[in-house]
Symmetry: D2
Subunit: 263 residues, 4 copies
C-alpha cells in the first residue's frame, strides 16, 4: 500500500496570485512530509445554497492558471466539472476531473468525464449507500476509462447534518478504485446557516484520523489562509497555518495503517 | 383553496401510441372525477442506477409527441430537464419544466428553466431539509419567474430508503409556492435492487392519503398499464387500472382538507 | 372499522382537582363529538432529560385519583408503567397499561404487564423498525394476553429529531393489534432544549391528520389548559381550548378513512 | 493520557468453566500486550429481540462466578444491570455497573447505580445525540458518584442499522468522563434477522481503529471462542482467536493517538 496522498487547496479559485501562494505553501508542506500532493480548486461553485453566493472565476479564467501551476510548481491539478462541455475543456489541462456528489448519478456527465481519459474522482452522493457506488463507477469504467477514484464525503443524517460512516471506506475499496476521504465537506452542515452551508472545522481532524486509521489512499482537505473570510465553505476549511501539524499526525496514523494492511 | 390537481403519466415516454393511450385514459378518469390533470412523461432518464438502464426516447422524438398530446387532448404537459440547453427547447412545447431532485441545487439549470417563463416544478432533493427549499425557490423567482411549484418526494433515511416527513408540506407551503406530493417516488428504495432502484407500490396510497389530508395542491403519481414490465420505476408505479379508485378516495380526503383549511 | 377513539389527558398527574378538571372537559368534548375517550395521565416521569425535571405525583397518590375518575366520570384510564412491581399495582385500577417507548424491549416488564390481563399499549421505540414490533407484541401475547395495542410515536432521524413514517401504520396493523398514533410525542425534539426536550405543537395537527387519513384506531394527544406552564412536555402538548376544533377535523377525515377501508 | 484499556468477554455468562476459560485467555492476551483488562459478561439479557431468546444464567448464579474470577484471576468485572434491585446486589461484587443503552434515561436506575459507589458505565442510547449524555451523566454525578464512564455504541440510522459518528467521541470526552468505544454492538443490525439482531463482525476492526485513532480510554469488544454458536450476539462478536492480532493493531494506533493528544 502506498503512503497517503494529499488532495488540498482552497475551495474556489480566487486570483492567480492567491492560487500560486496556496499551491506553493502546500507544496512546501508536502515536500517536508514526503507525501504526494494534488492541488484542488474549483473554477465554479455551481450549486451554492443561494443565488447570491460567489461562484468563482469561471473556466476560461481558471484554465491558464491551472496550467501554470502545473508547469511552474509541478503539481497535478484536480477540479470539479458540472457539464459535459466542461469535461473536454478542463480535461485538456487538469489531471483529475471531479464529479460533484449531487451529480454522481448523471450518466452523461460521467461518460463525458470518462472519455477525456483523465482520472475521474467521483464523490459519493449524500443520498447514496456506499455499495451503490459500484454502478456509478461502472458508468466510467464501461466507458473505457479505468482511472477512477471514489470519495467519501458524508451521508445525509436527519436534516442539515451529515454523518461519516467509516464502514463505507472498506465497502468502497472493494469496488476496486482507490478511496479518498474528504475531511472538510464531511463536517458540512448543508444549508445550516440559512443562506449558506455551515460546518464545524473542529471535527476535520477527528474524521480524518478515523479514515486514515481505517485505511485510505488519499485525504481531501480544503484549506485557506483565512477561512472565515473565504468566499465559500469557510466554516469547514482548515487554516493553512494548521495544515502541517495536522498532516504530521495523519501520516503517523497512515504509517501504522499501511503496515497493518487496511481494515 | 382549489381542489386537488393530478400530475400523472408513465415514468418515461415509450412510444407515440403508448403516450396517447395513457394520456387518453388518464383524461377520462380526471374528467369523471372533475379534477385537473397535467400529463407527465420523461424523454430521458439521465440518472439511471446503472449504465444499462433504458433512458427513453430523447428530446427530439419526444417534443412532437408532447405537442400533439397537448393539442389533441388539451392537456398541459410536464417533463423534466437536465441541462440548460434542454430548458429552452422543451420550454417551447411543454407547460411545466421539472427540475429533478438530484439537480435542485444546480443554479444554472434553475436559472435557465426560470428564463423560459414556463412553470418550474422543483423536486426537493433527498438530501435537503424542507426549509432549505426557500433558497432554491428564490433562485427561480429572483430570475424573474414567479411560477414555481415545489414537490416533496422523500428524504434520505439510512441507506436505500426514503421517508416522507409530512411536516415538510406545511414548511414548503410557507415558502409561497404551491406544493405537490410525489407519491410514487416517495416509496422508492434507491439502489435497492442492485442494478436498479426498488420500491413498494403498496405504500403509494398510504403516503398519498396522508399528504392530501395534510393539504397539497397536487399529487404526482406515475402510472403504467403494466408496471412490472415498464422500462423504469416499475416497482413504484401504480397500475393504470387502479388509478380511478385511488383518486376517488384521495379526492374525498381532499374535500375535507380544503374545507378545513390546510394544517 | 370502528370510529376513532381519543386517548388524551395531561402529560403528568398534577393534582386531584386538575385531573378532574381535565378529564371532565375532555369528556364533554368527546360526548359532543360522539367518540370514545380514554383518559391518560402519568404518575411518574421516569426518564426526564435531567435529574431536576418534575416527576409527578407517584403511584400511591395517583391510583385513588385514577379510581375516582373512573368511577365518577365513567372513563377508562391509561397510565404508563416502568417496573414489574408497578404493573400489578396499577393493573388493579387502570384499564390500559402503557409500556414506554424506551422500555419496549424489556422482556420482564412486558410479561408483567401481560399477566395483569389488562390491555397493554406498547409504544414503538424510537430505535425500532415497525416490523420489529411483531416480536415485541408476541412477548405479550405469548404470555397469555391478547389485548395489545401498538403506538407509533416517531423514529430517530438524525440528532434531536423524530420523523413519523406513515408507512409504519399499515405495517403495525398487519401485526394484528389495533394501532394508535401518538400525535404529541411525534413532534418532540428529544433533548432539543438542553435540560429538557423541545417540540413543536404546530405540527400535531399535520401528523394527526395524516395518520387518521391512513387509518388508525385511536389518536393519542396530550393536552393541557396552559401547556407553556405544564411541568413536562409543554412544547408539544395541545392547548385544551384547541382540542374540540382539532378533533372535529380529525373525525371528518376518520369518517372518510373508515368508509374507504384502511390504506 | 493513559494507554488503551480493553473491556472484553462473551456477551453472556454461559457456565463457570466457560467464563474462566474466556477470562483466562483474555488475561494472557492483555498481559502480553501490556494493556489493562476489564472482564465483561452479562448475567441476564433482558431485552432480547424475542421471548424465545436465551437470557443467561441469572444474577444469583452469576455473582459467585464473578467473585471468583475477580479473586482468582485478579480481573475487575463489568456487568450490566436492569433494575434498581440488581444495582445493590451486583454492586457488592463487580467493579463496574453498566447501564444498557435502552435504559440510559431511566432516572431511578441511574441513581441506584450511582449509590453503590461503583464505577457506572453508561451506554449512550441509540436515540440520543452525544451532547444529550451531559444530562445523563449528571444524574449519576449529582447523586454523589463521580466515577462515570460513557460508551458510544452507535446511533439509529434508518431502520435496522446503526452508524458510528466519530464526532461523538470528542463530544462525549468534553463531558468529562472517560470514553469507551463499543466496537461490537456498533456493528449490530438491530432486529435485522427477524427473531434476533444481526450484525457484521467484518466491520469491528474498521470502527475500532477509527475510534482508537480519534482517541478513547477503552475499547469494548465482545468475544467468543465460537461466536456462530454463541447464545446471543453471535453475528457481531469477534472470534477469540482473532483478538490478539486485532488488539496488537489497535494498540499501535493508540500509541500514535496518545502521543498526538486526542483529536
Amino acid at each position: 500500500d502506498l503512503p497517503l496522498t494529499l488532495i488540498a487547496g482552497p475551495c474556489q479559485l480566487e486570483t492567480r496570485q492567491h492560487a500560486f501562494d496556496m499551491a506553493g505553501a502546500l507544496k512546501e508542506i508536502a515536500t517536508r512530509l514526503g507525501i504526494g500532493l494534488v492541488y484542488k480548486s474549483s473554477f465554479d461553485k455551481a450549486n451554492r445554497t443561494s443565488l447570491g453566493g460567489k461562484r468563482g472565476a469561471g473556466l476560461d479564467a481558471a484554465l491558464p492558471i491551472f496550467a501554470d501551476i502545473k508547469k511552474d510548481l509541478g503539481l497535478p491539478i484536480l477540479t470539479d466539472v458540472h457539464t459535459e462541455e466542461q469535461c473536454a475543456l478542463a480535461g485538456e489541462v487538469v489531471d483529475i476531473l471531479q464529479i460533484p456528489a449531487f451529480l454522481c448519478r448523471q450518466t452523461d456527465l460521467l461518460v463525458a468525464a470518462a472519455r477525456t481519459g483523465k482520472v475521474v474522482n467521483i464523490k459519493k452522493g449524500q443520498f447514496l449507500a456506499p455499495w451503490d457506488m459500484k454502478n456509478v463507477v461502472a458508468k466510467v469504467t464501461e466507458s473505457g476509462n479505468a482511472n477512477v477514484l471514489t470519495t467519501e464525503r458524508g451521508v445525509s443524517f436527519g436534516y442539515n447534518t451529515l454523518v461519516s460512516d467509516m464502514r463505507a471506506l472498506p465497502v468502497l475499496r472493494q469496488i476496486g478504485a482507490p478511496v479518498v476521504f474528504d475531511a472538510t465537506h464531511s463536517v458540512q452542515q448543508p444549508g445550516g446557516q440559512g443562506g449558506s452551508s455551515g460546518g464545524d472545522r473542529r471535527y476535520v481532524e477527528t474524521l480524518a484520523r478515523a479514515a486514515v486509521a481505517v485505511g485510505v489512499s488519499a485525504v481531501f482537505i480544503e484549506t485557506h489562509q483565512d477561512p472565515d473570510h473565504a468566499p465559500s465553505d469557510g466554516p469547514n476549511m482548515v487554516r493553512l497555518g494548521d495544515m502541517e501539524a495536522l498532516l504530521t499526525r495523519l501520516t503517523a496514523f497512515d504509517r501504522v495503517a499501511k503496515q497493518a494492511s487496511p481494515s
